[in-house]
């Protein structure tokens, strides 16, 4: 029996989740919900999936077991809370909330009720990054000394119009982009204890940050650096890279490949050799039953549905693990505000002209 779910928020990620969920055998999308009646009604007409404009009414839908939430981050907290209160399983887009305390509280409530609560950090479902985790757990590169997390992409390439990203906080490069490599760093090394030299720079955006740089210190003694810029023209789409230096080897990984150099001073895992080994996504990706934009998007929803069906609540990307990322984001923000830099760095431009009322309404 598939699990009955509703998709809430029908922007780019919401549509993508809707298509994947609708195609997966173990999920049945029984309703869609969005603040735009026009978008909702059109989709209802062509997909035959009932549109319910009112979120509270949606939650009362008989037989509903879970919700997939892909609304702006500022709405996550109250929407997730209401869903959990109704006893519904939740898959929520990242970041979970704008406060790690809120995220932890949501995680605790969901756990107490035995509900599946998962966040859309899809990188943890990419074969190469999973392999990094496996190698670290096996101690393949010895004691980790340093980790570098990077992400570059062409999101904001000119002065943007005001949009949901900027309206009520949460929505800069730090929350929407840097969250991905930060989440991977958390997965590999935990939550950092210190953050120094943080810069949240605005290049094009007037209201949010476009670049994030910071140095992190982890409990295990490792240091980390994060370097993220979503105003990079040179790449076609988001590219996330991780590099890790250890006492007996190094790892470079991105979406496509994992390159390792092992010194041979610790036990070399099967499939690896002393010196360089390169492994590709072609051999590291388990197949999915439906593919849209990448295996990871289906794999994470397959995991969500499987957790519901099998009553398994400690799945990948739990609210608790996502709260670690929210906490790291808070640390970077705090470090940038005290002693680092927020805004432009020795660089001044005229403020943009404000968009008119209609533009604001239509710009979502």
């Amino acid at each position: 029996m598939p699990a009955n779910v509703a998709v809430v928020g029908l922007g780019k990620m919401g549509l993508s989740h809707l298509a994947v969920a609708n195609a997966l055998e173990h999920l049945k999308v029984v309703a869609i919900c969005d603040s735009s009646e026009v978008v909702g009604r059109i989709l209802q007409k062509y997909t035959q999936i009932p549109f319910i404009a009112n979120y509270e009414k949606l939650l009362d839908l008989p037989g509903l077991q879970g919700v997939i939430i892909a609304t702006p981050t500022t709405a996550h907290d109250w929407m997730v809370r209401k869903a959990i209160d109704k006893g519904l399983h939740v898959f929520c887009e990242k970041p979970l909330t704008l406060s790690s305390a809120q995220s932890r509280s949501l995680g605790a409530t969901a756990a107490a009720k035995g509900l599946v609560a998962q966040v859309g950090y899809h990188n943890r479902f990419i074969g190469t990054f999973r392999e990094v985790k496996r190698l670290l757990d096996a101690g393949a590169i010895g004691t980790v000394s340093h980790i570098q997390g990077q992400a570059y992409g062409p999101v904001v390439l000119k002065r943007p119009k005001p949009s949901w990203r900027a309206k009520a906080g949460g929505g800069g490069c730090l929350y929407d982009y840097a969250a991905h490599p930060i989440n991977l760093m958390n997965w590999f090394l935990g939550t950092p204890e210190t953050c120094n030299g943080a810069f949240l720079k605005s290049g094009f955006s007037a209201e949010v940050d476009d670049e994030v740089y910071a140095t992190l210190g982890f409990a295990c003694g490792a240091t980390g650096q994060i370097s993220v810029n979503w105003s990079d023209h040179s790449v076609r789409k988001m590219s996330t890279r991780i590099a890790i230096w250890g006492t007996s080897g190094i790892i470079h990984a991105d979406r496509q490949e994992i390159q390792t150099y092992l010194t041979g001073t610790t036990k070399t895992p099967p499939d690896y050799k002393k010196g360089w080994t390169v492994r590709y996504i072609t051999e590291l990706t388990p197949p999915v039953t439906f593919y849209l934009r990448g295996e990871e998007y289906s794999a994470q929803l397959e995991s969500f549905s499987e957790s519901i069906v099998k009553h398994k609540i400690s799945q990948q990307n739990s609210f608790h693990s996502s709260a670690e990322t929210d906490e790291t984001i808070e640390m970077i923000r705090a470090a940038a505000e005290s002693g680092g830099t927020v805004g432009t760095y020795r660089h001044h431009e005229a403020m943009p002209r404000r968009a008119g009322f209609v533009g604001r309404m239509m710009g979502r």
Binding site: A19, I42, Q256, M362
Partner: protein
Amino acid sequence: MERILFGDNQFFGINHLSEEKARNQAMRFQNIDSVIDVLQEALKAGVGGFMCTTHDTIEKIADRVRADAGAWEGFTFYPGMPYAHKYANAVTELGYFDALRKFLPKDGLVDTMLRGGMALLNRDIEGMMTLLVDAEMQMFEGLKTPVIFLQNVVTDLIQGLGIIDAFRIFADHCQTRYGARAGFITMNLPRLLPLLHQAGIENPIVCANVNKIAFRMAGGIESYREATARYPARVIAMSVLASGGIRPREAIEWVVNEPYVESILFGASSRSNIIDTVNLIREFDGRKQVAA
């Protein structure tokens, strides 16, 4: 349709295996002359069918072909649309309606529709889709485009959403406006074929990953065989080498013998790679004929 088709990923810094390699290719091919040279090599090797996205660069190639038709005898564009990143980014940045405003050719159409309310909006969805197709096709004006493809991210989004009507609208429009067959690029072939049948599109042209290690063949090799036996389709095999995951000789011997494969799509950046691949396909095609 030609037995062998040439693809364009290599020209746009798309490499499913290595970002480094992708960047090197992007550097090399930002000069349009380098792209033209490789396309000429492909044409000389007997591969004149060019399956391409509606990326801005393709517009420049189309201009070159129009300007010197004699040098491009036997060269045919097989456009695939839309170049999805441009739309996806616009939707996130601008919202659906401003994004539509940006891409639809007629000023004010979206505003008219919004003023007309839901009734008009519903009626005009079909018109809007065909206008988007026309906007993408402008760059090929005056050129032969026997098949027009829907890119996999759109095909698969539509099939995931279950908007089967959209396939029919697209196919009808390709036929009536361009005298072309509709093609569908997909990463989910076994699931797509019954939906196309349901949309009334028989023996559809479908382009999907077909490779010996089943890389990105959702459903697996057996389900491809079963689906094509049940719903006949003209399949173009792509990602035949699984981005380098299989040795060329082994990869091509296998794909040539998959009974449902009508054409093979491949991309290459050098004359020698083009010739090697073409020769391999011809060699194993020849053996197949002898065996038959």
